[in-house]
């Protein structure tokens, strides 16, 4: 549309530092917010400034500055708001976890672990930027990643799997526990995106039974996860990911309807056949029918958020530990109690900004693989956040899944930082070569 035709540049465009300046400003703002919240939580609870506020500030500023410098070095042109939003969510989550572990008397130091996991996540973020200099290279490993993704998904079914709170989604190797499903979703997103680049033209023009086989397989895998690992959240997430990518790739609304239909059939069958699914549905429809058992969690979460009202009880001044799993599945309720509707709305806004940035990256991407990958990664974050927040506020049946960046949990934190790094890499590539045909590796 522009009047002046721009000639492709022979050398890499000099990275403008403007996005990074914006990012630095946002990070500084978020550092102030998080450290204030940390101090307030302690003041609210014990009327004293936490003794470790100095070290906490130093540690946080160190991490923030480190990651910012790494982005300057390895993805200088990337979107300036994605990283600050993630740090904000992570910071607020950390403050809540630290505040909640004050009330825990069994000696487990969730806050200390979470600070370590945050550091690991940020290292993983930087490592992803370093080791994935070109997003296209990921497509080369599509089948490897596809197999790895399914394998990771099924890993907890092996004897090394551990069942915790009714869901078999953990793997324990030596002293390390982790949730392979958190990494499976990334591998599957990359696999689906690259697979659909090849397959979409075929599926677009005519539909044959064998073209529908993959969606059938994905459906089977997701129902399999739901049944065998009792992990409703992950199964919904993986299935939604696939359906969204099919729909965007083929531009056929049919797949949206087909996907929804298949999921409902699977859901109804599971509801009939498995008591844990039925319990979740019953607890969603009328938790007060069984307030001591099936409805207990959701009722406590509702009371917690109602207690918070518009502005919350104040950090450290509520009783969010009355909600089971307040550090993980129900951290959104804890935020709602102590920071009120203002706090939960802020979390919603942060996720909407991440989704908006992610989809903008998808639209600006020029190649189908990059488009689809950006859509897939954004969908992972957006749907996962929606599934758990919607579950906590009783909009949809509750499924145990972490709130990205906010909930306690090492695997989730690390994998979400990897997702973020991939989005940053995509963003950096487009902004670096707005009309180039050749990818340019950052140096």
């Amino acid at each position: 549309m522009t009047a002046v035709e721009r000639r492709p540049s022979a050398r890499p465009r000099v990275a403008s530092l403007r996005p990074r300046r914006v990012e630095l400003g946002l990070i500084a703002l978020i550092a102030i917010v998080v450290v204030s919240a940390y101090g307030l939580a302690s003041l609210g609870e014990s009327a004293s400034v936490p003794a470790d506020i100095g070290p906490f500030l130093a540690w946080m500023l160190g991490l923030f500055f480190f990651v910012h410098l790494a982005v300057r070095r390895f993805a200088a042109n990337a979107d300036p708001v994605l990283l600050p939003m993630a740090l904000l969510l992570n910071g607020i989550g950390y403050v809540m976890i630290a505040r909640l572990s004050e009330d825990v008397e069994d000696g487990s130091d969730l806050a200390g672990l979470q600070s370590v996991w945050t550091a690991v996540g940020i290292v993983a973020f930087v490592a992803t930027l370093v080791f994935v200099p070109r997003i296209r290279m990921l497509a080369q490993y599509r089948y490897l990643l596809g197999v790895a993704g399914l394998g990771l998904l099924a890993l907890p079914l092996l004897p090394i799997g551990v069942e915790i709170n009714g869901a078999r989604i953990w793997v324990s190797i030596g002293p390390v526990n982790f949730q392979p499903g958190e990494f499976a979703k990334i591998a599957l997103a990359i696999f689906f995106a690259s697979y659909l680049v090849d397959a979409r033209e075929l599926i677009k023009t005519r539909i044959e039974l064998r073209d529908l086989a993959p969606i059938g397989a994905a459906w089977a895998a997701s129902v399999g996860v739901m049944v065998l690992e009792r992990d409703l959240g992950s199964s919904m997430l993986v299935f939604a990911l696939f359906v969204v990518l099919m729909w965007v790739a083929t531009e056929r609304t049919l797949f949206l309807g087909l996907g929804a239909g298949l999921f409902m059939v699977g859901g109804v069958v599971a509801f009939r056949a498995f008591s844990h699914v039925e319990r979740r549905i019953d607890g969603w429809l009328d938790p007060w029918a069984d307030p001591q058992d099936g409805g207990f969690q959701i009722i406590q979460a509702t009371y917690s958020m109602a207690e918070g009202g518009l502005t919350g009880t104040g950090l450290g001044r509520g009783e969010p530990d009355r909600v089971p799993f307040a550090e993980t599945d129900f951290i959104f309720a804890a935020i709602g109690e102590e920071m009120g509707l203002a706090g939960t709305a802020a979390i919603l806004m942060a996720f909407l900004i991440v989704i908006g940035s992610g989809l903008r990256i998808a639209i600006r991407a020029t190649r189908p693989f990059e488009k689809l990958l950006a859509v897939g990664l954004t969908t992972l974050l957006g749907i996962q956040a929606f599934i758990i927040m919607g579950g906590v506020v009783r909009l949809i049946p509750l499924t145990g899944i972490t709130l990205p960046f906010v909930s306690y949990g090492g695997s989730a934190l690390v994998s979400n930082y990897v997702v973020l790094a991939l989005l940053m890499r995509l963003s950096h590539e487009q902004r670096t070569r707005p009309n180039a045909t050749e990818a340019v590796a950052p140096r």
């Binding site: 909407l352 989704i355 908006g356 927040m389 909009l395």
Partner: protein
């Protein structure tokens, strides 16, 4: 693909907007409702662990107080030194299960969190002043203990009221529970104790004295008699009904028989003394009609929200629908006989049901508290006082912060009818079925009831209601006793089983026990 991606963006906007709307519902629109939920213990939790005032009986026995806790975040826990004796009235304050009874109803006053309690303390801002309130009950420890001892380990309830003020002097239900089990700091133990109480088939958590309704049986004849005296043109001595063993309803329906085929009849005084079913059924259906019966029952507080100052009270009920009007009673009269004095009584399709309700059967249900109030209204010249278990709230310095003033809840019957009924009830306690509640030196009136539950095996609720006072003076106490599901179904059951309990309570109240 860009079109689809934009659609996806719109879809996410929609999803998150709905999420935001639901958040507004939970955190703002419906938040107050959720805070008031019965199972929501957060309001109590705020109060739990703070020091609270005592709950004491009218004669100074401490039923609840706060004990300092040495370790942990919680500074105080509640202790109930009287164990189960006041559990249904005082309630309890628990960490996990919320608060019940007065602990809930007077939560703010006990915690001293009301604005005026706090405001009073502003003048000594720099002194660490105790703002908690002490709740003084109207219940008397001597009367309450007598009620519990006399009932023993039989399921039932005993309620005693001061007719002139509505002060509840005793309110006891067996089985009760030990609130100390539910006020502990060990949440698991509390939950287990609570669960065990819930699972108990006798439901000890339920204060049946004011939260459960029962067939009142023949004690309801007092209401029918009040209607007869006030609205039916009937006096204690006129008319005189012929001796019969049954009442055949109009229009035809199943006959109402006296107990064990006994014959009954005579005037209203004798009918009450012998508790004649046939006579009272006829009075209700053929002398009064639906309108007069319903009006009188509602003047006695049936079909109304209960008036007691405790949460979750049950209301008593009296059926109001008797079908369409058919004709006046004269239409059923043989043409050659003399006109009936009550020939214009309206007869409805279900006048046979009305006959049953007139003797406390069919769908008439009342709480033991309410039947005590019925007796109290008769004892208090027709004025039914608002019942209350709290007398006053005192501040930490002993000054009265709030006092519950006596008030009239309903005007149930005329002073004249009340006097006539008192005379008839004294007669029942002297010559009739309630002789076992007689106390030397007092003027006692009563009425028994036996509400049949079934015939295989025969069982029934044994009732007695009544009043007592010094001779020639206004009665000072009204009582109601129900002993649930007693074997047998004779009209003697109420007199034999329940009346001695009423006597024990009366004796305790007059200090002659």
């Amino acid at each position: 693909m860009n079109g689809r991606i934009r659609n996806l963006g719109v879809a996410f906007m929609v999803l998150y907007t709905v999420l935001f709307a639901q958040l507004n519902r939970v955190q703002f629109v419906d938040a107050e409702d959720y805070k008031d939920h019965e199972g929501n213990i957060r309001p109590q939790l705020r109060a739990f662990g703070q020091e609270r005032g005592d709950i004491v009986t009218a004669d100074g026995v401490i039923a609840a107080f706060s004990v300092p806790v040495e370790a942990g975040e919680i500074d105080y826990r509640r202790s109930y030194p009287t164990d189960e004796l006041y559990a249904h009235v005082v309630g309890f304050q628990s960490l996990n299960q919320g608060a019940f009874g007065l602990e809930r109803e007077y939560n703010d006053e006990l915690a001293g969190s009301r604005l005026d309690q706090q405001f009073g303390s502003l003048k000594d801002l720099f002194v660490d002043r105790d703002t908690t309130g002490t709740v003084v009950m109207t219940l008397r420890d001597d009367v309450q203990r007598a009620a519990a001892d006399a009932l023993g380990e039989r399921n039932g309830s005993v309620v005693a009221i001061d007719p002139a003020t509505g002060d509840v002097l005793a309110m006891w239900t067996y089985p009760s529970f030990d609130p100390n089990l539910l006020s502990g700091l060990d949440g698991t133990a509390v939950n287990e104790a609570y669960r065990a109480l819930l699972d108990d088939p006798d439901n000890p958590l339920l204060a049946k004295s004011f939260r459960e309704v029962f067939f009142p049986g023949s004690t309801f004849k007092l209401v029918t008699a009040a209607a007869a005296l006030d609205l039916g043109g009937i006096t204690l001595t006129d008319p005189v009904w012929p001796e019969t063993d049954r009442y055949e309803p109009v229009p035809a329906g199943s006959a109402i028989r006296n107990f064990a085929g006994s014959t009954s009849g005579g005037d209203l005084l004798l009918a009450l003394q012998r508790s004649c079913n046939a006579t009272f059924a006829e009075i209700g259906a053929e002398w009064l009609g639906p309108d007069a019966m319903v009006r009188t029952a509602e003047k006695f507080g049936f079909n109304a929200d209960p008036a007691i100052d405790l949460p979750d009270a049950a209301g008593s009920r009296y059926p109001t629908d008797y079908g369409a009007f058919i004709a006046e009673l004269d239409a059923y009269q043989p043409e050659d006989s003399d006109p009936l004095p009550n020939g214009d009584t309206p007869i409805h399709e279900n006048s046979a049901v009305l006959a049953q309700t007139a003797i406390g059967q069919n769908d008439v249900k009342a709480t033991p508290l309410h039947m005590a109030m019925v007796a109290a209204a008769i004892a208090n010249d027709g004025q039914m006082m608002t019942p209350h278990v709290v007398d006053e709230v005192r501040d930490a310095d002993g000054g009265v912060y709030e006092r519950v003033e006596p008030s009239v809840w309903r005007t149930s019957l005329s002073p004249f009818a009340a006097g006539q009924l008192r005379e008839a009830m004294v007669n029942v306690a002297v010559n009739g079925t309630a002789r076992a509640m007689q106390v030397d030196g007092l003027e006692v009136g009563g009425k028994t009831g036996t509400a049949q539950l079934g015939t295989t095996p025969a069982s029934s609720h044994a009732w007695v209601v009544g009043f007592a006072g010094l001779p020639g003076q206004a009665p000072e106490i009204a009582v109601a006793v129900i002993v649930e599901a007693q074997p047998g179904a004779s009209e003697q059951t109420g007199g034999a089983v329940a009346a001695p309990i009423a006597r024990a309570v009366i004796e305790a109240a007059f200090g002659s026990g």
